[in-house]
Symmetry: none
Subunit: 183 residues, 2 copies
DNA sequence: CTTCAATTAGTAGCAGGTACTAAAATAAAG
DNA sequence: CTTTATTTTAGTACCTGCTACTAATTGAAG
């Protein structure tokens, strides 16, 4: 038994809207050569909301994401910097950074904070993370302010040894050792 | 000469819409305690389009971005999973994940991929990263497909030892050792 | 008290729908 | 071939959040 015209049409409908969610029922009815009512029945059957709702969803998703993403790019605000020696940065954690179940800040945010500070403290145009040694001592919860301190301990040609300590109100929550390679 | 009520109101209007563009004229008229017609005259004067147009603009502006952004939340697609034993995930890297200067994928993307796979492979409701040992062997460039393999090597009460190997076309680019703690 | 800007009120019309009823066309079954 | 069921089309009333317009009201300033 092959697929009914109805099923095929509904698949096409999904295809069209996945490629471009900004299409009216009217336009869909033209593209698929059926009446506008059929389009609406199809949307109902497939649980696809109306154009305005779709646009709003795209807009909302975006709007919230752009904020969190720009946060995840900013992996802390640099407060103090002495090249090849030391640096301090801070990062305010929030609800977007946590695992839902536990409300604990995801490890990679903390890692990103540490790594970016390690990169910042090095006096080299570009550097890549070579080896790292991490220890998460205490889980961080949303809302806590992280303070990261970097200390360059050794420089061997193109290799930089950097220690990072992150604390919440003077209590150490994370420490790490990076060996960075300037390229 | 101080500012007229009109000017102050129009400034507030701009403020409100900058913080949240998803507000109807009706809501604005309530917030600013003026009639809906006044709101409309103000929008005209300020050249601010109607709600639906604003929403559409937000949606359109970032529509292309959304796709790539949502990728950065996905830290790999799980292909194979044997709880407490092994797991495999893949991640396609792209231009949004790199340092501009070097075109090298930022370390925390790779770390996030590794960490999330390490979490996935553990048969525990929640787990936090305790200790990690990382080595970035070869820099990853945008566009390369990462394959991560996890292997649980030891389980001691609430502590899980997990090894993660990430490779690009059979060449190992990263390896790490995690000690995860179930909470 | 007048005069002009600012504000409010009210109406018609539009886009892109929902929600509903009903008729027509098509497909499936006996 | 007819009867039944499914699918599609048609049509209407109503909704939101406006635009575009006309007209009335209020407020401050000379």
């Amino acid at each position: 038994m092959r697929k009914s015209a109805k099923l095929l049409r509904q698949e096409s409908l999904i295809d069209i809207l996945e490629k471009d969610p900004f299409v009216t029922d009217d336009s869909l009815s033209e593209q698929l050569s059926v009446s506008i009512q059929t389009i609406r029945l199809d949307r109902m059957a497939l649980g696809i909301p109306e154009l305005r709702k779709r646009i709003k969803d795209v807009a909302k998703n975006n709007y919230d994401r752009v904020k969190t993403i720009s946060k995840s790019e900013i992996v802390g605000e640099l407060l103090d910097l002495e090249l090849n020696d030391r640096a301090i940065s801070i990062l305010d954690t929030d609800n977007d950074m946590v695992y839902e179940k536990t409300q604990i800040v995801k490890g990679h945010y903390i890692f990103a904070m540490a790594e970016s500070l390690a990169l910042a403290v090095i006096d080299a145009d570009v550097a890549i993370t070579g080896v790292a040694n991490l220890k998460y001592k205490i889980p961080v919860k949303a809302g806590e302010k992280l303070v990261a301190k970097a200390k360059v301990t050794q420089i061997k040609e193109i290799e930089y040894y950097v220690h990072i300590f992150i604390s919440v109100q003077d209590e150490q929550v994370f420490r790490s050792k990076f060996i960075m390679k300037a390229v």
